[in-house]
């Protein structure tokens, strides 16, 4: 206490004497300094900015509640984070080749990107799919494609993350059946499905059904996996896309965790015990350029989740309170101008994620703002992680920035502001209600608009875009997806449909349709039966569309 008084006094003197004198002759660059998310930043931080008496409650030690400093006591001293590059494009054959290449290069987990028709539950031959087949990921119509995708990759040896949401249960079902055919039992499968529909309504747009049936599908997966596929991460609650849509760091944390709470509530309502599924929930965050703000963001997120799980949901197992997360460097921070600069941005973001204690990381490739990344740029991105891991030294101690007055102050600030949001959302009746009202979308859009205006006015500098620009040659050698791919995929689908047992397909789909209308049946086993008979993704989703209807976005501008 005495100590703080002295420091406070010293600080006052410093400001009056030393600082004022300098400022009167050399004014600072700006009147106010703010973080990437508009949080005001002081000139310098000192011990009194962070109340050290709360240290044990709010910061503590790694691997212990409230997990501000990390979910494991040893973190990267035990094992590095999983380096996991998101990849997939074109046909299953091409993607399969890319996966094998990445595994040979030392990547430790697979991450599958699907094309948009797959993500929205349309087959490649659907009219809605024109122009989109194989564009942003691999096209999957039936189990056949999935068999090809993982051909020669033993599913008991890799962990696979699949970016799939609305039709997550269908893709998971296909993965399970591919495992069956390889002789790998369900309890050996490791991986993650994104399965986070709420952020699709908020930010990413690949929804199919309205919230209620969507939440039911998700709960079905929780329940099924807790019994049958225990090592599977059943959801990756994603702030990544919320941030990409233009949110602030605080909003990213707040809205993602509010989404998480909604899933927990729904599952509990459906009769599941918190500790039965909560340890399988994982998170997915963005990494932007404001290094220290990002580190504080991850730390605050962990503390919020732990607090809520313990105090609100009365979880008993400490595993249920741990926020484990995957990180991807921020796609929207990449510039099409001077693309090599992106390598540097990604390096900073990598540091942010690692200093923030991520469990796995995808680093973007420098050319991602332009097109699909080439093999060369994917390798540089992976090497960036390897350099941070092996050369930078930041992985040698756990949570190295703890105790930085600035980082601790920011962590508290983000914690408080995010909690305010979460409270407000709770008052509205939870996340589904807040989304239907358009509240969340509006908050994000306003932040995005402000940010963009700042860039346009030059109040925020983006190197190579609104300052330090040069005349550039158009980049060459970008990877392109062959437009003829759709025909290929359509033919493959037609062949599969001709070869399968169509009576069995019909029966399986009928059984699914009947079950879908009954609220207390778990649909997972029925979906597995249908995909095993090579029912297509589109056929399955269309059945569900008929029963559940489609979601219409409530747009706010």
């Amino acid at each position: 206490m005495e100590e703080y008084k002295k420091i406070k006094e010293a600080r006052r003197k410093w400001e009056e004497k030393t600082v004022d004198k300098v400022i009167s002759r050399f004014p600072e660059r700006k009147e106010i300094f703010v973080t990437g998310s508009d949080i005001p930043v002081d000139r310098a931080y000192s011990p009194e900015s962070f109340d050290e008496e709360r240290w044990l409650d709010e910061v503590g030690f790694p691997g212990e509640y409230p997990f501000t400093r990390g979910v494991q006591p040893t973190m990267y001293r035990g094992r590095f984070w999983t380096m996991r590059q998101y990849a997939g494009f074109g046909t299953a054959e091409e993607s399969n080749r890319r996966y094998k290449y990445l595994l040979e290069q030392g990547q430790t987990g697979l991450s599958v990107a699907f094309d948009l028709p797959t993500q929205i539950g349309y087959d490649s031959d659907d009219a809605m799919s024109v122009g989109e087949v194989g564009k942003v990921g691999v096209a999957i119509d039936t189990l056949k494609d999935m068999e090809i995708l993982f051909e020669g990759i033993p599913l008991d040896k890799v962990s696979t993350s699949m970016t799939i949401n609305a039709p997550a249960s269908v893709l998971l079902a296909m993965y399970i059946v591919v495992g069956e055919k390889q002789g790998v039992s369900r309890d050996q499968l490791r991986g993650t499905i994104q399965n986070d529909i709420l952020k699709e309504y908020i930010a990413r747009g690949t929804y199919i059904f309205p919230p209620e049936p969507s939440m039911r599908l998700i709960t079905n997966i929780f329940e099924f996996c807790s019994k049958e596929v225990p090592k599977w991460n059943t959801i990756s609650i994603s702030g990544y896309h919320i941030r990409e849509a233009g949110s602030t760091a605080v909003q990213e944390v707040a809205f993602t965790i509010a989404d998480g709470m909604e899933y927990v509530k729904t599952a509990v309502r459906a009769g599941l015990d918190v500790d039965q599924f909560a340890d399988r929930l994982s998170f997915f965050f963005n990494a932007h350029n404001d290094l220290l703000e990002e580190v504080a963001k991850y730390r605050a997120a962990r503390r919020i989740w732990a607090t809520l799980m313990k105090e609100k949901f009365l979880a008993k197992s400490s595993k249920s309170m741990m926020l484990r997360f995957h990180t991807q460097t921020g796609g929207s921070t990449l510039t099409a101008q001077q693309p090599d600069n992106n390598i540097v941005r990604v390096a900073i973001q990598t540091l942010a994620a690692v200093l923030g204690g991520t469990q796995s990381l995808h680093t973007n490739s420098r050319d991602e703002a332009l097109a699909l990344p080439t093999e060369d740029s994917v390798r540089i991105a992976l090497r960036t992680q390897q350099i941070v891991a092996h050369e930078s030294g930041v992985a040698n101690t756990v949570d190295p920035l703890a105790g930085s007055y600035y980082v601790e102050a920011l962590t508290s600030r983000i914690y408080n502001e995010a909690m305010d949001y979460i409270e407000k959302i709770e008052e509205m009746g939870g996340m589904v209600k807040a989304i239907e009202k358009g509240y969340i979308q509006k908050e994000i859009q306003d932040a995005a608009y402000r940010y963009q205006k700042d860039v346009e006015k030059g109040d925020r500098i983006v190197v190579g875009v609104n300052k330090f620009t040069i005349k550039e040659e158009a980049p060459r050698d970008l990877l392109k997806v062959d437009p003829a791919l759709r025909d290929l995929q359509v033919k493959k689908l037609a062949r599969t449909k001709a070869e399968r047992d169509n009576e069995a397909v019909k029966k399986a789909l009928k059984a699914l349709e009947d079950a879908a209308a009954k609220p207390d049946v778990n649909l997972m086993p029925l979906i597995i039966d249908a995909v095993r008979e090579y029912a297509s993704l589109g056929e399955i989703c269309n059945i569900l569309r008929e029963v559940y209807g489609e979601y219409k976005e409530s747009i706010v501008l």
Partner: protein
């Protein structure tokens, strides 16, 4: 006489849900004094063209990030032409590699704005076409 109000349709063809850019442009153009109509995501070329016709817009701005622009943008230009509306000026934006731009222009997309384009550049483009629209 004040200038005639120009009407602009901002549309998202294709399946990608990344509407940050489209919404920004819609809102910024409103702030610049234009009357703006925004379609929402996942619009087919047919519905975009019908909307453009019914709303009697001067411009159609297309935003697409999935890479399907080479298929979808020209389709929209063609459909406008088939409906006797070749005069409506089409421009595009989103993740569009520089090397695709000549092809799109040849197909009748009058301008392509890649990420990072200041809104003023779009405004300048619109204003430079005002006389053409007033004919």
């Amino acid at each position: 006489m004040s200038k005639r109000k120009l009407r602009i349709l901002i549309a998202k063809p294709g399946l990608d849900g990344h509407d940050r850019g489209a919404k920004y442009v819609a809102r910024a153009l409103k702030d610049e004094g234009y009357e703006v109509i925004y379609t929402g995501i996942r619009q087919t070329p047919e519905s975009i063209v019908r909307t453009a016709l019914q709303e009697d817009v001067d411009f159609v701005g297309l935003s697409l990030l999935s890479g399907a622009h080479n298929e979808l943008f020209p389709r929209i230009v063609d459909l406008l032409r088939e409906n006797d509306a070749a005069d409506i000026i089409v421009f595009g934006g989103g993740v569009i590699p520089e090397e695709d731009i000549p092809f799109l222009k040849e197909k009748g997309v009058r301008a392509v704005f890649t990420p990072g384009t200041p809104i003023q550049e779009i405004v300048d483009f619109i204003e430079s076409k005002r006389d053409e629209r007033n004919q």
